[in-house]
Symmetry: C2
Subunit: 491 residues, 2 copies
């Protein structure tokens, strides 16, 4: 398995792609830029969905479903939104095909041209606010706390599996509120949900902050985000939560009668995470032996591999394997017994290691005799012979330990690769030496931000929430600045 | 609520539409033929999804995700499939918009025309079999048992919420097998899963059968289906499972090396159910007072409505309501306490009745004094004063009783409206008098089937599995027939 597999050192980009392909997470499809999410990859995404869905419902949200298509004119209604989203997109112009007159295949029926083109949703603010208009009359109809699980399409020219694909899966929350403060609270609450999910489930430490005006979501007054650091020293935006003000309410004329009997525009938020998190997961934890999945999200937490030579041994070892499987399942552990007769244990060890299963149990005739098992941890690659008795408790504890170890490891990596610089020279040197998160003073202007980006490819990832106030000078312009912002090159 | 609401008698079609709209299940969107599934409707669909997903996984299936778009040429590869699916569909021709030169809105950028048009998937056999080609080399790679939860688009001219919409949500299973028999077994197994789901969860009795060649899925060798009878005497196809033979394997050149070391084409099945089931649910059980949801699928199984006059009463009754809610939740019952102060009990009673909540608990000062509760069943509209003690057990039992009562009621309705006829006159009379399921002899020809359809609008819903052998004569042609088939007018 690992023979034709790149290390991070050799070629980080190929290493990432190899893991995604060879661990059976996803592959490219016949449609440019669209991926196939394979069963193993999808089962990890399902675990993410399940947990996020629980967290959304705990915070009072309900799911709903809005149309895939958005009339072209809807995009023009919110001035900045159209610039951000209505450009690189899939445009439906016709609704029928017909047999080609030459008898070869099918062609577009020009008689079936749509009066107005439909855009495959790149995000759903416009169609949803057009719908909310019908749902909201009075303050009694507020808040609306709705989430949608859906596919979206953004026509990207250069795509990478999970990180940037033309079609991707995501959730998009769209809420409507009576007051500005309530909407801001919601935006911040969902940022906290994302941060908790990233740290507790993905085992990825994140920096919470707000985007600079330049990097805001098209149509937002404020974009909150969580930023994670990947092993190649590049940042990855892992979730965003937008305070949209009254922009969409004004664009779609959504007003409500307040308690004070006044007609007012509704306040809005939207927030989303996507299958991009799969890319973040791969790049945060995996090593040169393949994928590493945090136990809480692993579809298979423990794999049992029977080791035997004779048929008689096989029978005994596999019987013990089944017994063990049932004990572990009974304790709520997701366990697989790999009793394939078509492959040798060595192959299976490498296979499950590559696929990132947190714990492997090797089980041979010796173990049966001694009432022991061999446990191998995927995160540290340590092996240990342990007694069979009390195995469920031991494994439950070990899964927790692996989960927290992965987080700690990622946090240490981030700490080691987080810098604070005072000069543009140091700034550039760090970016060129291996990247990382770089805290630096910025004068707050879009012009400086743009110039730094042009010259270094680094962008302001966020202005951290509650930054330490510290007088300083912009590394680029030398103008005064009240606190540092977070720079990095990014995915 | 029910003031401007049609009865079934007055206008069945309007009755259906009123329930869907006024019970907040779904509504039409700004995009022709595409619906918005509202939170309450979506929460019922979620319950369906959850249970189906469990049943799919119990039968060995995994989920995956394939692209939304399918290259136009893929449809032409399977001759009958193209006729069935590649005609009325959404066609993506461009991938970019640009600002209009007149400064008004945005227009399609003609420079961004796709070389080959993309079709928004109406069903995914072609893109999936094109993908399976890369997954299958040897018998060791089989079977592939994959399901996808997705949105699909079929450009329908006349749409009805849930029953026929341009975009709908569904699941589509796509499996690959080494032998014909294994594929047939899979097709039949999934039909059983659908039938069990329909009867045990939707509380809708179904007839299992196979379609006549005319009504088969485009590309299938055999289409199995479950057919349900709606309250207006029309049939509704509630799920299909297709044996596809080697048609798609041949179209996409998917071969495998068998155990005997021979290169053979792979055998295929596909099977699906959709948001159409929401329509079936509404039309099977609901009455002139609104929606009725079977308890197993009800997002809210019990609603508690506090009844009070003074603030003091309110406080006491609501406190008891919260206590009751926590007791019922603790027993795994989905319960809502409707303590809105903006609405009166009478309004709430009508509201939840209309929304089909299986059990309503009325709770007033008298009940507190007597340690009693008022229980109202949505299915029979019966009310009962019951002791507060043992309420969780009582409600659990009652939910089961309501579930089975709804099934029995629907079964009785179907039995009363199922006929066996021997003449074309009786056949037409029954269809015109109120419809229903009609068993009749058919000579097995497509021509007869077509003529009957033209003259009566009735179609062969299915040839029942294991029909009673019974010599007879075709009601239309008088030619001999070995068993009856099931006719009905259908949705």
């Amino acid at each position: 398995m690992s023979k034709d597999f790149s290390t991070r050192e050799e070629n980080y980009s190929k290493w990432y792609n190899d893991i995604v392909l060879k661990a059976d997470l996803a592959e490219n499809s016949a449609v440019r830029g669209c991926m196939v999410i394979k069963p193993y990859g999808y089962s990890i995404w399902e675990k993410m969905q399940q947990q996020l869905d629980i967290m959304f419902k705990e915070t009072g949200h309900e799911n709903a479903y809005f149309p895939l298509f958005i009339p072209k004119s809807f995009f023009s209604k919110e001035a900045s939104h159209v610039e951000g989203f209505a450009k690189e997109c899939a445009v439906v112009t016709h609704y029928r095909l017909k047999n080609s007159p030459d008898g070869k295949g099918i062609i577009v029926d020009e008689d079936a041209k749509l009066e107005e083109e439909l855009i495959v949703r790149p995000t759903s603010e416009t169609i949803i606010w057009n719908t909310y208009k019908g749902w909201i009359q009075s303050y009694r109809d507020l808040p609306i706390l709705v989430n949608q699980w859906a596919n979206v399409v953004r026509w990207e020219m250069r795509t990478r599996l999970f990180l940037r694909t033309a079609e991707f899966l995501w959730q998009e929350g769209h809420t409507a509120h009576a007051t500005e403060q309530e909407a801001i609270n919601e935006t911040e609450k969902m940022l906290e949900v994302y941060a908790e999910f990233a740290e507790e489930w993905l085992a990825i430490p994140v920096i919470k902050g707000v985007k600079s005006p330049n990097e805001r979501f098209a149509g937002a007054l404020e974009t909150y985000c969580i930023e994670a650091l990947m092993q190649d020293g590049k940042a990855l935006q892992a979730g965003t939560s937008h305070f949209l003000g009254q922009n969409f309410a004004k664009a779609f004329d959504v007003k409500f009668l307040s308690k004070e009997n006044k007609l007012e525009y509704v306040w809005a938020t939207s927030w989303g995470v996507s299958t991009r998190l799969m890319g973040a997961l791969v790049m945060s934890h995996s090593d040169d032996k393949g994928l590493i999945i945090p136990p809480k999200l692993a579809p298979i937490q423990v794999v049992i591999v029977p080791i035997y030579k004779t048929d008689e041994e096989c029978e005994k070892v596999c019987a013990k394997g089944r017994e063990l499987k049932s004990i572990l399942s009974g304790s709520g552990i997701r366990v697989k017994l790999d009793d394939r007769t078509t492959h040798k244990p060595g192959y299976k060890f490498a296979d499950w290691e590559f696929k990132g299963v947190p714990i492997r149990i090797g089980l041979g005739p010796k173990d049966l005799a001694n009432q022991t098992l061999e446990l191998a941890r995927r995160d540290t690659l340590e092996k240990d012979i342990v007694p069979e008795s009390g195995i469920a408790e031991r494994i439950s504890a070990l899964l927790k330990e692996i989960q927290s170890n992965l987080f700690d490891k990622a946090l240490k990596f981030r700490e080691k690769n987080t810098f604070s610089v005072d000069t543009y020279e140091d700034f550039k040197r760090i970016l060129n030496e291996g990247g990382g998160f770089v805290y630096a003073h910025w004068d707050g202007t879009a012009e400086t931000e743009e110039r730094i980006k042009e010259e270094t490819k680094a962008t302001i990832r966020c202005i951290p929430l509650a930054p330490t106030l510290e007088e300083g000078k912009c590394i680029f312009s030398g103008k005064p600045s009240a606190h540092r912002v977070l720079f990095a090159r990014a995915y």
